[in-house]
């Protein structure tokens, strides 16, 4: 009951944000939070539901950004509304490649391959000057246009990313609550058993990788058309680290977790920017990760849910045992 009210309140606040957020810089932070929500949700699909950690997720983000930028700049000058799906497709193909090649590896080896892949892509973006303009980057990426109006203002862009984030959330929700989501969780929980009832491990893990990568590509495209500049910096490992922290601290394997994590780790650093230098924050990220592993292994959202469940059962309310359906929420 409280949860539903909170969500309604949050949604209302989000939709009306341009009116009550006075400082345009704060609106910028919210826009970044929305983009990171999409990225965190995409990583959560892989990590939280299949159990495979991809530390190369910035690669999908970057491929999306570059694809969208290159397609909408001269000589092609395609519309944003075509560049965006193209970016998703390009990242999706990369996700497919990673999925097909690497998912038979699993665990730490999968992680290493994803890092290596991201490393190679990053080097390509720096060295292939003819395509990417190298370290100088691609300036002047045009903003999206709706008919004759270009979405230049932060307010307009806010609604775009808000819609995209809501769509990403919906995609995840539908996927997770479906037969496909059950298959993914089953593969994570007990792969031989899942296979014995006809669940094709390779097919579904690759599917998860493709959707995850495509979603990250959408995030990349939105980022490119917002900052209007793309450089090899999109492949920085710190982006991947941030995404990982958001998912793990927020709560992997839940839908609300990445959203909470994205908000927390976009807004918090900005709020603390005056007081605490960026390096201290990154240092804190590392410590937070370690602490999470020890004390909140499932992240904040499941932790909160568990406390609530515990409190409710103590108060005598009959409730299913904690976690009985949480994996599929």
């Amino acid at each position: 009951m409280i949860a539903r009210a909170a969500v309604a309140l949050g949604a209302g606040a989000a939709v009306t944000a341009p009116w009550w957020v006075a400082n345009p810089y704060h609106l910028h932070v919210l826009i970044m939070a929305a983009i990171f929500t999409i990225l965190a949700l995409s990583l959560n699909l892989l990590l939280g539901y299949t159990g495979q950690l991809s530390l190369g997720h910035a690669a999908f983000f970057g491929i999306g950004a570059y694809t969208s930028a290159l397609l909408s700049l001269p000589p092609l000058e395609w519309s944003f509304w075509i560049a965006l799906p193209a970016a998703a497709a390009a990242s999706g193909i990369a996700g497919w490649a990673i999925g097909r090649l690497a998912l038979k590896l699993r665990g730490a080896y999968f992680v290493l391959v994803t890092i290596s892949f991201a490393g190679v892509i990053s080097l390509v973006s720096i060295n292939w000057m003819a395509l990417t303009n190298g370290p100088l980057g691609l300036p002047g990426v045009p903003p999206p246009a709706l008919g004759p109006w270009a979405l230049r203002t932060k307010s307009a862009y806010w609604y775009l990313v808000l819609a995209a984030a809501a769509l990403a959330y919906l995609v995840c929700k539908r996927l997770v609550g479906s037969r496909i989501g059950r298959a993914l969780v089953a593969l994570r929980e007990n792969e031989p058993l899942a296979e014995s009832v006809g669940i094709d491990g390779t097919r579904y893990l690759v599917m998860a990788a493709v959707v995850s990568a495509a979603m990250a590509g959408v995030g990349g495209s939105l980022y490119a058309h917002y900052t209007r500049f793309v450089s090899p910096e999109v492949f920085l490992f710190s982006y991947t680290v941030t995404m990982v922290i958001m998912v793990i601290a927020g709560g992997q394997g839940t839908l609300a977790g990445p959203v909470v994590g994205a908000l927390l780790f976009t807004v918090l650093p900005e709020a603390l920017r005056e007081a605490v230098a960026w390096q201290w924050q990154m240092l804190a990220y590392g410590v937070v990760l370690v602490l999470c592993v020890f004390f909140l292994p499932r992240g904040i959202v499941p932790g909160v849910l568990a406390v609530r469940s515990h409190a409710a059962s103590r108060a005598g309310h009959p409730r299913p045992t904690p976690g009985s359906r949480s994996s599929l929420r």
Binding site: L55, F117, V120
Partner: protein, 290 residues
């Protein structure tokens, strides 16, 4: 031909230090099954320790090396004791996440301590290269490769010949039996991690003066270390040594003949190709340590 030989020599210099990195990680990842993404940070630690000793304290190079090794061993021991021991028995993924946290924390600690500007580490060797036949080699690099070789030999001896080394091998081959025989399992784990980290720090102290020291130098070092371990096979000392040399030479040849911008890609591509086609490593037949 001369150019080829020159590249080979440079490759061996790099490769010797990569071998040190790889041997350290093959002990930690191969034997202890700890996915140590912070391995490169111990390399960075070694470089900065050398910087502190040489630039700030003005002590001899040899002392710098000892300081680096000691720092690596000490911090490694603390890491293992405080973080890994309580998590023993947890899944490999959990441990991997913890080490990622350590990686981030250590790197940003270095950033805070030393600043983001790259530091040049002074060394006592003359800069004029020595000429050995058709080859030129800077005295510093010669020192690096000789010292690396010596350290590798010491590591080998330590693991193959001493009682401690035997205890290590026994622990990771069959823990329960080793425990029954009175081997202090907990201490062996700590020592192994400290040993591996010390080797990484040594590599950092050696290569730091050759290039520069900067806080994110550990990222590539970690990945190259993993590359070496995968090339050589987990837990395989000889494989790690050969793998390290191979990687160093391949990088130099690639940088010299193909493109220097993609030099670091060699390690990445090696990881991908080996894991896909020969996951047990290139030298799979060679004897495992454990």
């Amino acid at each position: 031909m001369e150019q080829l030989l020159q590249h080979l020599v440079n490759g061996l210099v790099l490769g010797g230090t990569y071998a040190l990195l790889g041997i350290g990680l093959t002990l930690i990842f191969g034997l202890m099954s700890v996915v140590n993404f912070a391995h490169g940070e111990f390399y960075t630690l070694g470089a900065y320790a050398a910087f502190a000793t040489l630039a700030l304290a003005g002590l001899p190079f040899f002392v710098a090396l000892v300081v680096a090794i000691a720092a690596g061993a000490l911090l490694g021991a603390i890491c293992e004791r405080a973080l890994l021991r309580p998590l023993r028995g947890h899944s490999i993924d959990t441990i991997m996440l913890v080490m990622i946290g350590v990686w981030i924390a250590m790197q940003n600690a270095e950033l805070l301590a030393w600043g983001g500007v790259a530091r040049s580490i002074p060394h006592p060797f003359p800069t004029a290269p020595l000429t050995l036949g058709p080859l030129n080699i800077a005295p510093l690099r010669l020192f690096v490769v000789v010292t690396a070789a010596a350290l590798i030999a010491l590591a080998w001896l330590g693991i193959q010949k001493t009682r401690l080394g035997t205890a290590m091998r026994a622990t990771f081959q069959d823990r329960d039996t080793a425990a029954l025989m009175g081997v202090p399992i907990g201490r062996i784990h700590t020592i192994t991690f400290a040993f591996g980290s010390a080797l990484a720090a040594a590599a950092g102290a050696l290569l730091g003066p050759v290039f520069l020291a900067y806080p994110s130098m550990g990222d590539l070092a970690s990945l190259k270390a993993f590359s070496v371990v995968i090339l050589g096979g987990l837990g395989n000392l000889a494989g790690a040594t050969l793998g390290g040399l191979l990687l160093g030479v391949a990088e130099e040849l690639g940088a010299g003949y193909v493109s220097s911008g993609y030099r670091d890609a060699v390690g990445f591509v090696a990881i991908i190709l080996v894991l896909l086609f020969r996951p047990a490593g290139l030298f799979a037949r060679a004897e495992r340590i454990g």
